[in-house]
Amino acid sequence: MAELLRQAWAVARKDLLLEFRTRTAIVSAVVFTALVLTVFNFGRDPTAVSTLDLAPTILWVTFTFAAMLALNRAFQLELENQALEGLLVSPLSRTSLYWGKLLANLAFVAVVESVGLPLFVLFFNVPVGRVLLPLVAVIALATVGFVAVGTLFSALVIRTRFAELLLVVLLLPFLVPPLIGAVQVTARLFGDRPLSEAVGYLKLLAAYDIVFVSLASFLFRFTVDE
């Protein structure tokens, strides 16, 4: 287990270092997030629908789109100069390769979300101060779930035609259960409802994370082996 985590960290560190040195993808993703939030502002009628009613939708649609941008990048960058083959012949277990990619993707999405959340609060004037901690917990819970599936699928589509488009088509049905859970819990948090109302959705999010992280860790080897 320690060995697995050490190897995973090596992969994640490599990815994050690459990202840190170029910063193209992360800056684009952050700007994209800001733009989506801006577009949302023009896509609603503030006199008809109150911001608070629309807030969970805005937050989660933005985060889902931003996460999908990040996921496309994960294996695309390994295609250049056959870097993926290099990773596969290195003494690295397939599971740790997956975990490394998952960690790097989670870090990437976390950065985007940590910029997106304050922007969302600023643009839409949503009072999150009182519920910040549970809100961050829900964001983390939902993000782990869809990044886990997304990392697996991004490895699945790299050798196909229209990889970027196919990833979105395959991934969106899988994002619906965590998205439903996250939106419902967020709506209850913003509406000052007791947390006991959201227990069912929280269980759903947790179960989704457990099932799909383990399933993807197991299935990943079948997507990269020759």
Partner: protein
């Protein structure tokens, strides 16, 4: 008799019996008191829905065994089952609104079951797109198997997440813990229809399986 012909005969028999289902449902089964003739679509809608979901589970099971046994037959079966499942999901999604318009007053509503069936349909479409997007057949089969297994595991989550919403959709009246709560003649028609849909599923899958076999022979795969 070749596999393709056998599948064709089973399908033809299924289609002939399907005409029998129509006759029995329209002429020899009582009209439901509240819903009137609209309820007749139930005899097509529910068996198709049962097979649309079962087909996904079979795709998942075929995929699991394919990854371990690497038997091409399992992959061909999973591909065939997915295509037939897509057709059945499309039947469910078209018969549903036809019933919904007179009974609910709307073609579509974001109800739990409608949403879950729609997602199942998208899942099938994604699966078929992935199969078409990979050139190397062995690689495509493995990718499809991974997606098939994930898809099978997603189905209960879709159900759970949408069932936490309130539903407008009629509750099951046959597949429920207590005894079926509909008159014997309606139950008989329904069971007849379920049998016919099972036959159609088998017939379609055999034909599709035989076609991929022929395709592989021709392309020397």
């Amino acid at each position: 008799m070749s596999l393709l012909h056998r599948g064709r005969w089973i399908t033809l028999l299924g289609l002939a019996l399907l005409a029998g289902v129509y006759v029995r449902a329209l002429a020899f089964t009582p009209v439901e008191r509240l819903q009137g003739p609209a309820q007749k679509i139930y005899y097509l809608h529910v068996p198709a829905a049962i097979w649309a979901e079962t087909a996904m589970v079979l795709v998942g099971l075929g995929s699991i065994f394919y990854l371990f046994l690497k038997d091409r037959r399992l992959d061909r079966f999973a591909a065939a089952s997915a295509e037939v499942g897509t057709v059945f999901a499309a039947i469910v999604l078209t018969t549903g609104p036809i019933w919904g318009k007179p009974i609910w007053g709307t073609w579509w509503t974001w109800d739990a079951r409608l949403t879950s069936t729609l997602l199942l349909f998208f899942l099938y479409i994604g699966y078929l797109l992935l199969r078409g997007a990979v050139r190397d057949p062995a690689l495509g089969a493995r990718y499809a198997a991974v997606l098939g297994i994930c898809g099978m595991c997603l189905v209960p989550f879709i159900h759970l997440s949408v069932y936490l919403f309130r539903t407008l959709h009629p509750q099951p009246i046959i597949l429920k813990p207590s005894a079926p709560s509909l008159p014997g003649s309606m139950l008989a028609t329904w069971l007849f229809s379920l049998g016919v849909f099972t036959l159609l599923y088998v017939g379609f899958v055999i034909q599709r399986y035989a076609l991929s076999l022929l395709w592989e022979e021709r392309n020397g795969a």
